[in-house]
Amino acid sequence: MDRRESIRSIILGSVAGGLVISGCKPEAEAKADEELLKSAEKHFGRTPEEKELIAELNAEQFFNEHELATVAVLCDIILPANDSFGSASDAGVPDFIEFMAKDIPELQITLRGGLMWLDHKCNTEFGIEFKGVTLEQQQQTLDTIAYPDVEIPEDERPLEIQFFSLMRNLTLTGYYTSKIGIDDLGYKGNMPNLWDGVPDDVLQQHGVAYEEEWLAKCVDQSKRGIMAEWDDEGNLLT
């Protein structure tokens, strides 16, 4: 089975398995499969080996159903929705954490052990596991692990505190690297642009200014398309 085929089988396996088993499918559905295949092949510059690794990781499952549900509850307590933007799980954070647990296996024991700690703690105190207790009880539990003593180096803190810090880190990084999160943050780049300096109001806000002498060395964007020519002394003429 070549790489393309193996990716195809993974996708078909998870999404459209029934069609494959039936063995014959209408043309329109076959076309839909092709589209699906294409979207899975949406490139971000992976080498064949890298694609294979991603496909392998996607084919594995680390968290069980209960753990994944607990992760989702926890993520959304860390970052709930607000009036303008969705929650961590709206931004796909649980799936991201599932992927990272497989991508960086060193995270696994902390994550899984920490989830067990949460359930144990809630079972002991409330007689029911973490995801089943009230939000107030969940918060009460988290309050004991969410505020690390910054004087103690991270790797010397109790496991449950390390666990929560890790979950918070993964939740926020998962959120702010998602489309929702980037909109929320207000990051404006990653598109063709003509950089022409810091806006005046920003300069004022932060108490800095450009010097004429410096600006004289800088690009005049109205001439960027004109071919560069110099005199023998290296003075730009165009």
Partner: protein
């Protein structure tokens, strides 16, 4: 297994396709020579949609750009890294050296920082200044015409400054400083540190009809799809092909050795085709090594024959010796005046818009060589790691650290863009006892003996690193900054990174007039074998407080002109 030999006779076989190999390909093929380029990695073109990482969003990577697979993250365009599966290297006597290899057409030029600085006369003759190391057999006047040509061919932005050790060139205009860079300018000047516009090879203005102009996405480490930054593939090899050059590109081809005849002259190379794992031979009149300083040394040392029992070009026993990298150390700080930023697109060019060349006189200091300062910060695109420890900076205000809930959104926005860092990149003093050699006990998966490194920093570099941190603290404090790390201690070598980490390794086949103490002559031709040349950074006698690429390019062009001339005169 029989070695498969091609019947084609090439004028020149070039091993490696990075800065040195790319330039040699361009100049030699443009002159009409028949050229084979042998590259250990795959074909790469940043304009190929399947290979592009530029303008991708973090969520397009399931790991959001984390560095699990590629050491500088999923979107960095280097294929390879510090460790490559199946291609080990070893270290000797507990010393450290980290070796970054990029296996792809264009090599490391696809992701490098594009900082493009000329060496000055002082840089070529530093022994005259402080009595340490050795002078190059050439000086600035020998290289200047080639620096000029490289500037015009490839493009570099910068500004005329008339600084004695930072020769000016033919510059494109520089981009305006970003906000944190304006802070740096103020902070550095307060300590009498020179700050000037960066000099980097992104095209801020049209330079030729084949290349686009920078559109300021800040992603040069991802390689530019409109070829507005310099990579050896897009700016040298492709144009040479387009120009009708007779170029055969052998990719995924790992050179094992340079083959020689009974007279000891080179006859070509043998390589392993990674796809069928068989050994092949190519025949050529001239072999140009451009595999990177350490890889070229490895090829020479593995090219043993009756005529060259110590490895090719190694009658001096100098191949692999004098390995040296730039020094490097960094520090970062929280700048309260950069809090609560309005957001706007400040991606700019990839990397810094301003920098500080070395500004002091070492005669007045307790270490012999200088360093330049690089600056980083800003409101860049989030990637894996963004949002970690979202409110740790609260501690500077006596506020609680940690927690959960929507307040974290405010923390993230409040601190977005308020951390900046500065890094020193300095000159080390080349030492004969810092070297790479063949490890007799280890081969790679192609059966080729691998390199073993032996490298120790001296007090010259440690004291320089100590000075860097004094400078970093002073400048960051001038900006009202709160240091985010403690000053590294003596036990930590004052924060000096392990050799190899700056990826400026040079010096393994050094240049000189005396065949007993050097490997190549001033035209980068082996003293021992006149039809083998080296055009990577191996011939560097010393690596200045600069970045090596612009000098590699200039010297490769100079050597290529020499090869053309020597062929005309039938000297080789």
């Amino acid at each position: 297994m029989q070695i498969l030999e091609s019947s084609t006779m090439y004028d020149v076989i070039i091993v490696g396709s990075g800065a040195g190999g790319g330039m040699a390909t361009k100049i030699l093929a443009d002159s009409g020579l028949k050229v084979a380029v042998v590259e250990a990695g795959p074909f790469f073109d940043p304009a190929d949609p399947e290979q592009q990482t530029q303008l991708k969003w973090p969520w397009e990577s399931p790991r959001r750009g984390a560095s699990t697979v590629r050491p500088f993250g999923d979107f960095d365009s280097a294929y390879g890294g510090w460790d490559i599966e199946g291609e080990p290297y070893t270290r000797k006597n507990g010393t450290k050296f980290d070796w970054f290899r990029s296996r792809m057409l264009g090599g490391r030029t696809n992701h490098w920082g594009r900082i493009s600085l000329r060496f000055s006369e002082r840089d070529f003759k530093h022994k005259d200044v402080d009595g340490l190391g050795d002078n190059w057999p050439i000086g600035y006047d020998d290289v200047k015409p080639y620096y000029d040509k490289v500037d015009k061919l490839i493009g570099v932005f910068g500004s005329k400054e008339n600084l004695p050790n930072e020769p000016d060139g033919f510059f494109l205009p520089a981009p305006k400083p970003r906000l944190h860079e304006l802070f740096y300018i103020k902070g550095a000047r307060k300590s009498n540190i020179t700050v000037i516009p960066s000099r980097m090879s992104m095209v801020t203005k049209k330079i030729n009809k084949d290349r686009g102009v920078c559109f300021y996405c800040g992603q040069c480490s991802r390689a530019c799809q409109v070829y507005a930054d310099f990579s050896a593939g897009s700016c040298l090899i492709f144009p040479a092909q387009k120009n009708g050059g007779q170029i055969d590109l052998f990719v995924n081809s790992m050179v094992r050795e340079v083959t020689t005849n009974a007279e000891g002259k080179a006859t070509g190379v043998s390589y392993i085709n990674k796809e069928d794992r068989k050994e092949y031979k190519l025949k050529g009149k001239i072999v140009v090594l451009a595999a990177s300083a350490c890889s070229s040394a490895r090829i020479l040392l593995n090219s043993k024959s009756t005529q060259h029992p110590n490895g090719l070009g190694n009658s001096s026993n100098i191949v692999g010796k004098y390995l040296h990298d730039s020094t490097g150390s960094s520090r970062s700080a929280f700048i309260p005046d950069l809090m609560n930023r309005k957001t706007y697109n400040e991606d700019g060019v990839g990397g810094m818009h301003v920098y500080s060349p070395w500004w002091l006189d070492n005669k007045k200091l307790d270490f012999p060589r200088g360093y330049h300062i690089e600056v980083w910060g800003g409101i860049g695109m989030p990637s894996y790691g963004f949002g970690f420890n979202p409110n740790d900076l609260n501690k500077f205000f006596g506020l609680k650290v940690g927690g959960y809930g929507n307040g974290l959104r405010d923390d993230v926005k409040k601190y977005y863009g308020s951390v900046m860092g500065i890094s020193g990149r300095g000159e080390s003093v080349p030492m004969k006892d810092n070297y790479c050699e063949i490890d007799p006990t280890t081969v790679d998966e192609f059966g080729i003996p691998v390199l073993r490194f032996h490298y120790k920093w001296s007090d010259f570099e440690r004291k320089q690193a100590r000075h860097m941190h004094q400078t970093f603290e002073e400048v960051l404090h001038n900006m009202g900054g709160e240091m985010l790390q403690d000053r590294p201690s003596k036990e930590q070598d004052y924060g000096l990174l392990a050799p190899g980490r700056i990826i400026h390794e040079v010096g393994t086949t050094r240049m000189g007039n005396d065949p007993k103490s050097s490997v190549v002559n001033k035209f980068q031709q082996l003293h021992d074998v006149d039809n083998v040349f080296i055009v990577d950074a191996g011939p560097f006698v010393s690596q200045a407080d600069k970045n090596p690429t612009w000098t590699i390019l200039a010297l490769s062009w100079r050597t290529s002109d020499y090869i053309i001339e020597q062929l005309k005169q039938q000297n080789i």
